[in-house]
């Protein structure tokens, strides 16, 4: 069997797949922390135990994600761009565009008919339009991440959020709250602003079917905001937070087979 470890900025995810590359034997995730390699190691051991397998059964391990270079147990590393594309393609075979919004960055991958990445775009260096941005907004409004979707659904008039910088947006939200703007309008405005940023990345090249993955895909309302901004359907990937680790495991298998 093969393993993929996605050391993201907010969580570490592990997926273990069988030799056939179709069966997921076990998977798990843990919040990211200071001692990333140890966290990953413990999670990996836990996933092995959940799957009832030994370390020696795992033929190859690929690490991906922001912290991929700090996972010593991995045989190699592959970027999250390639891994998410492979993971999503495995789950949604006809996908042509993958939108991945994680804790720290957002990406858009255009695939070819064979499922290979044709081109990609990634947000700039800051946390603008990412999960971290949503966390800051939720904190400021006294909400949990899970509250954001239901709250946004109540909005009849989303606020215009002009700044995608976390620091400036905080100031802007304080101003909106002081001006009596309802929280639901602010949340809906933030989701719309994030979606607009993705559209800017996509340009005129977002081909359908479009699949949304990454941790932020689990926050309800985001896919609606993306659909509205893109003007076409956006499907949420099955298990969006795990697609990077799944892709890494699938690539581990491919690499092993090619040796």
């Amino acid at each position: 069997m093969y393993a993929g470890i996605d050391a993201g900025s907010r969580a570490i995810k592990v997926v273990l797949i069988g030799d056939d590359g179709f069966e997921i034997i076990a998977q798990g995730q843990v919040d990211q922390g200071v001692e990333q390699d140890q966290l990953a190691c413990r999670l990996f051991e836990q996933v092995l135990a959940d799957g009832g397998v030994c370390r020696s059964d795992v033929r190859r391990i690929v690490a991906t994600g922001y912290g991929r270079n700090a996972i010593p147990m991995a045989d190699t590393t592959i970027t999250e761009i390639t891994c998410h594309a492979v993971g999503v393609r495995h789950l949604v075979p006809d996908v042509m565009t993958v939108i991945d919004i994680g804790g720290q960055d957002s990406k858009l991958m255009r695939l070819d008919r064979n499922g290979k990445v044709r081109d990609f775009a990634m947000n700039d260096r800051c946390a603008a339009g990412t999960g971290r941005f949503l966390e800051v907004v939720a904190d400021q409004l006294g909400l949990s991440l899970g509250d954001l979707g239901p709250m946004a659904a109540l909005s009849r008039s989303p606020a215009a959020i002009s700044s995608m910088c976390v620091v400036f947006a905080e100031t802007e939200i304080i101003g909106l709250l002081a001006g009596g703007r309802a929280r639901e309008d602010i949340v809906a405005g933030v989701q719309t602003a994030i979606a607009s940023r993705i559209v800017a990345m996509a340009g005129r090249n977002a081909e359908s079917p479009i699949v949304f993955t990454g941790g932020v895909a689990r926050i309800s309302g985001m896919e609606t905001a993306l659909q509205t901004a893109l003007g076409r359907p956006v499907a949420i990937s099955p298990e969006p937070q795990m697609t990077g680790a799944l892709g890494a495991a699938l690539l581990a298998r491919r690499q092993h087979d090619s040796y």
Partner: protein
């Protein structure tokens, strides 16, 4: 070439330098161990990796001693001309006169990188109202105020018009600080109307004859100022000779680029190639020495190609790079991530084209000035990039944005779209500030992902 090429650290270079010295290897007058530049405050040099050849050592020492050489030139009675926002036109005139040395104050944009923002130049620019919303070339203002990075020139020229808005603002601020500037206008290059006489320019551009005549008249004003400063006139014959010499530099660079970008194994790293190309625009204050430096580099590259040695593997991703980077370290990342340089367009492609020698010299300079990719549309620039991408067989394109640079706001999208459409290649846009340390993991991820994308596309 005695050894296989390697990329080595500055400390490794200094050790190597010591060994070479004991073997009696001779260095030019500005030569020496690279480590001495760190003592001058250029701490970023400790983080770079350098080509291990003597030719590369000479290139680096040439670059890093420019200030000393300029001061020595002044002491020797030469007059200094600061040619701002000029990518390879006025220096050709200046070097056609015996006692003028032209240099490029805009080159100060690398000082915040090389000195890791400890130079204080950006803070001075801030204090003058030229803040970080401007291109890092604003460091030039600080250099003029402190007078510590280059001598204050005897004459300052600056092109204006269809050039960077922020550079014009910076230069205007400089003018206001008591550094008088001789402005010369360059219009936005446009396609000729049906009824207008068209002139074919280098780079496959064309422009109305009227625009050429206008630029020529502007350059005549600059020529007069240079003659006044030099105390001698610049005749057509002398200028033709200067053009021939500039063309020799361009020819050397053309050979170097062709070999570096087309050899099976990349014979010279991206960083050294960037520095070498930069010599085209102002000769790093010494045209004769530029020729020697480039000849040595070319010789080294020829030997490597003949020996089949170089950097990277034969299947390294072949990357075309658009725009120079404010942080030199990023060029090292390309090889780290499995790529190799395979074509460049660092905003001065016209300075690599031969200056026409079949028309009168002033007209030729006007033509080359109007062939500047910066003075036309981004779409025009993209067309030239597409041609070069095809010529060198690049597999991906990186458009590197310069924070604050007005031309970077939209050009990346236009260039990206045209390259994708015409070549079907992946295009990656990145932003490179003077120091990328905080963002280097994400920057590397993008470069690695680009290399993976190229590899995956090959296996389709």
């Amino acid at each position: 070439m005695n050894e296989a090429p390697r990329q080595i650290t500055l400390r490794e270079w200094d050790d190597r330098y010591e060994r070479l010295q004991t073997r009696g290897v001779r260095q030019p007058v500005y030569g020496g161990p690279l480590g001495r530049h760190v003592a001058d405050g250029d701490t970023r040099l400790l983080k770079l990796r350098y080509d291990s050849s003597l030719a590369a050592l000479r290139l680096w020492n040439f670059l890093l001693t420019e200030e000393d050489r300029l001061r020595a030139a002044r002491d020797a009675g030469k007059k200094l001309v600061g040619t701002m926002k000029d990518l390879g036109t006025v220096p050709v005139m200046a070097y056609s006169l015996d006692n003028l040395v032209a240099f490029y104050p805009d080159g100060a944009w690398w000082i915040p990188c090389v000195m890791e923002v400890n130079s204080g130049l950006l803070q001075i620019a801030d204090s003058l109202g030229i803040d970080e919303s401007f291109c890092p070339v604003r460091a030039m203002l600080g250099a003029f105020v402190t007078g510590t990075h280059f001598p204050i020139p005897d004459l300052l020229t600056c092109s204006v018009g269809a050039t960077c808005d922020d550079f014009s603002a910076i230069a205007q601020r400089l003018n206001g600080l008591g550094h008088p500037i001789l402005w010369w206008e360059i219009p936005h290059r446009r396609a000729p109307e049906v009824e207008e006489e068209a002139v074919q320019l280098p780079g496959d551009f064309s422009a109305p004859k009227g625009q050429i005549e206008f630029v020529q008249s502007e350059l005549e004003r600059v020529k007069t100022a240079l003659e006044d400063l030099a105390g001698q006139s610049l005749g057509a014959e002398a200028l033709a000779g200067g053009i021939a010499k500039a063309n020799h530099v361009r020819w050397l660079l053309a050979q170097l680029r062709h070999l570096a970008f087309t050899a099976t194994l990349c014979p010279m790293p991206a960083l050294e190639m960037l520095i070498a190309e930069m010599l085209a625009i102002h000769f790093c204050s010494d045209q004769d020495e530029t020729i020697v430096v480039l000849q040595e580099l070319l010789e080294e590259v020829n030997l490597r190609v003949a020996a089949g040695t170089g950097y990277s593997s034969a299947d390294a991703a072949r990357v075309f790079w658009v725009n120079p980077v404010a942080d030199l370290q990023v060029m090292n990342f390309l090889e780290d991530c499995g790529g190799r340089i395979c074509g460049t367009e660092y905003l001065f492609a016209h300075a690599l084209d031969p200056i026409p020698q079949t028309v009168p010299p002033m007209e030729a300079l006007a033509q080359i000035a109007l062939a500047d990719p910066m003075v036309g549309s981004a779409a025009d620039r993209a067309v030239r990039i597409v041609a070069e991408v095809r010529r060198f067989g690049a597999e991906a394109v990186i458009v590197s944005r310069i924070p604050g640079a007005s031309h970077c706001a939209l050009e990346g999208e236009i260039i990206g779209e045209i390259v994708r459409q015409e070549c079907g290649l992946p295009v990656l846009e990145i932003e490179v500030p003077p120091l990328t340390d905080a963002m280097s993991p994400t920057l590397r991820t993008r470069l690695e992902a680009l290399v993976e994308t190229v590899e995956n596309r090959r296996s389709r």
